[in-house]
Symmetry: C2
Subunit: 254 residues, 2 copies
């Protein structure tokens, strides 16, 4: 039997976002790998080995799973959200490039999932309704100067911006700095959305403005979306305001 | 009974990407609205009214569905991919902003879906593994000069770029022009992925380079991803090459 490795996106939060394709891949795997809390979201199945690991060992986790698959097993690697967005799929590809030739011959499949920015956007309205970008604010894996260059490029280009990995105890100042940087390009009233734990029971959406964004609490379970100059806020009685970015950015001549 | 409108993302292609949340929303609706080919993907259900429309009447379609929901019905609007990404959710929010006060009071829900760039990226490897942006190449709703400004900003910022709406019979030259524009910033060997009809039986992934991208066939069912200077291609015997953007963009000092 030849082995295979399937990298499976669970989507954010509970099972409501788990696609049939992902469910099937999880059910057919002989062994599961992944960050512990993500593995905990996969229903237990008899005879299926579970191999949880910590959240900072992506390279090692990928290597162990690839070696297991190369031995002939059907292996699944789970990832929160979408595995291709700041998650395990790139780590697996990187280890395949650097690893033994046999890893390139493996049957590798990647099953997409709902990534956090889509779930947060859906809760808030349609802030990603027009051109947008996604930036990881973690400077563990790239220099802060590059992040600032990308903030400048995104804001000056008029993109809506989604921040992944906005803040952590080890990276306390980066999010505030990013808001300050964007303040050089954008109006203080630019809408900013904080989406926390979306898809879980304790999910919370906060809509604020760029000048007040730095005061809004955030943590590792938060995704932040900063509007473009076109992004609009529609107030509603007794409901969170709707935030959306119109599909049309300039009048079309008749 | 008070009405509600749920905007439902079907994901790309067949049912494999349809989330439980989306399935539930479709099953509980009394009336369905949407672009005909998307509605055709929803299983028939007794007593459920189906209201297909053409693909250029988003505003009118949203108005009719909102009015129906405001009359007390449970209405679902279907959208391919994710409704929040260049799709129906922004159109619905826009009509709510401009419409009667009662529309703001409606119970509006948006159910996210797998958007095309995630599905194409998963088939190709992990090209969106690091900072990226999404740009609609349609100049029906914004001036071409703005698109060029965004191409310059995205490429000079080092973002991977996903093109939605890359080409159509009415817009034959924009994609080639976009590749030429990116050629001012990026190496001719920058990887470019064409993903066509992903999630359908006739799906096809083509991996090429920026200097040859303009010769590659594309149509309205195609999504294009242009790599960043960091994006890598891993060749594999007898398989499509893997394309990925590493999570790390600069060496981290020990």
């Amino acid at each position: 039997m030849s082995g295979c490795l399937t990298v499976v996106g669970l989507g954010p939060g509970d099972d409501r976002f788990l696609t049939p394709e992902a469910r099937k891949a999880l059910a057919s795997a002989q062994a599961l790998y992944g960050y512990g809390p993500y593995l905990d979201r996969v229903p237990l199945r008899d005879g299926q080995a579970r191999n949880p690991s910590g959240n900072r060992v992506e390279g090692t986790r990928a290597q162990v799973a690839l070696a297991h698959a190369a031995s002939g097993a059907h292996v699944a690697m789970v990832s929160g959200g979408d595995p291709g967005v700041f998650a395990m799929a790139a780590a697996v590809c990187g280890e395949i490039e650097d690893g033994p030739e046999a890893w390139r011959a493996l049957d590798l499949r990647i099953v997409p999932g709902i990534t956090a920015m889509l779930a947060v956007a859906a809760k808030a309205g349609a802030p990603l309704g027009h051109d947008f970008c996604a930036i990881s604010l973690s400077d563990n894996l790239k220099p802060w100067e590059l992040i600032e260059r990308r903030l400048d490029a995104a804001a000056s280009g008029g993109f809506v911006i989604a921040f992944y990995n906005p803040i952590s105890t080890a990276r306390p100042w980066q999010l505030g700095q990013a808001f300050a940087r964007l303040g050089h390009h954008l109006s203080p009233t630019t809408p900013v959305i904080f989406g926390r734990a979306v898809g879980r029971d304790d999910e919370a959406i906060t809509v604020t403005t760029l000048d007040k964004a730095a005061e809004t609490p955030a943590d590792m379970a938060t995704l932040v979306i900063v509007g473009s100059p076109e992004t609009r806020v529609v107030t509603r009685n007794g409901q969170t305001p709707l935030v959306y970015s119109p599909r049309m950015t300039a009048p079309v001549s008749a």
